[in-house]
Symmetry: C2
Subunit: 146 residues, 2 copies
DNA sequence: AAAATACTTGACGTTGACGTAAGGGTAAGG
DNA sequence: CCTTACCCTTACGTCAACGTCAAGTATTTT
């Protein structure tokens, strides 16, 4: 359970010290001080990890701040129920993002295959298109409406 | 295969006309004109859908623009191979995001369960914590290091 | 002792993705 | 004929998330 300087932590997670100070300014991190120097605990390191994960998923720092608050079990019972609702909303959001990603992946992979085929073994169709492009002879019957 | 005015499309996708004009300015959309008014085709509508999905997944408009270009099979063979590489990179990126989301979902759901239990049927442990908080009697043996 | 290194707090600059206000065109409805 | 409803372009404003100096402090290395 060691502690970290701002530089160490920044380097480990490949962010700048400026970013860490910014997160502190935005109330996402609360390192202690040794004199005037910031000291990050192991827990702070964990929080930073969560922050960066959150960013990666596309949350704003404000949203991440809320998530961190919830994650820390702050406040009395009544607040917790509100947090549960927020969590639920986040779950919905995340699951939508996930399905969006799945959709995007499917499309991309599908399209990659199309290009791949296109490059590897040009089909009759492809050849015909090529010929059409070269000789500009667009008099063959169109298969499907464009 | 109808066409749309900027307002119709904006309302359908819950964005502002300004956003659509902005996307056009950034070369993401290319509606035709009827006089000076923009006319969006069904294909344009599809592109817009892709744009918004991309945004949702956390891509910048610049990145989305590239994806759209690739998606449109523009350019000759040599370019396509470069695009395949980019696609591959995007796949990696997306799959990482997906696993990040899965991680986040797992954590959140786990934590929701903790809170839920905490609220529903306060366990012995919870009650002890409560008592400790109220009477400030922190002399019982700590189970795990915090 | 001087220089390099790592930290500090301001404070202004930057980029992306629009918002918003200003000024004007056109077509339908009362 | 005037208002309402959309549409247009131009241009400045805004907010998030830092980047980038500037100017100073403390420690360590040469």
């Amino acid at each position: 359970m060691r502690s970290y300087s701002i530089g160490e932590l920044a380097k480990e997670f490949e962010v700048t010290p400026r970013a860490l100070r910014f997160y502190e300014d935005k109330d996402l991190l609360h390192p202690t001080r040794n004199g005037m120097h910031r000291v990050y605990s192991y827990k702070d390191r964990g929080r930073l990890q969560l922050i960066l994960q959150g960013k990666n998923i596309g949350f704003s720092l404000a949203e991440i701040r809320e998530l961190l608050d919830v994650y820390n079990l702050e406040g009395p019972r009544v607040q917790m129920e509100r947090m549960l609702e927020r969590y639920q909303a986040q779950v919905v959001k995340l699951e939508k993002q996930r399905s969006d990603i799945d959709g995007a992946l499917a499309q991309i992979k599908d399209h990659m295959k199309v290009i791949d085929d296109h490059l590897a073994k040009p089909s009759q169709e492809t050849l015909r298109q090529e010929r059409d492009r070269i000789f500009n002879s667009s008099n063959s019957a169109p298969k499907a409406a464009e």
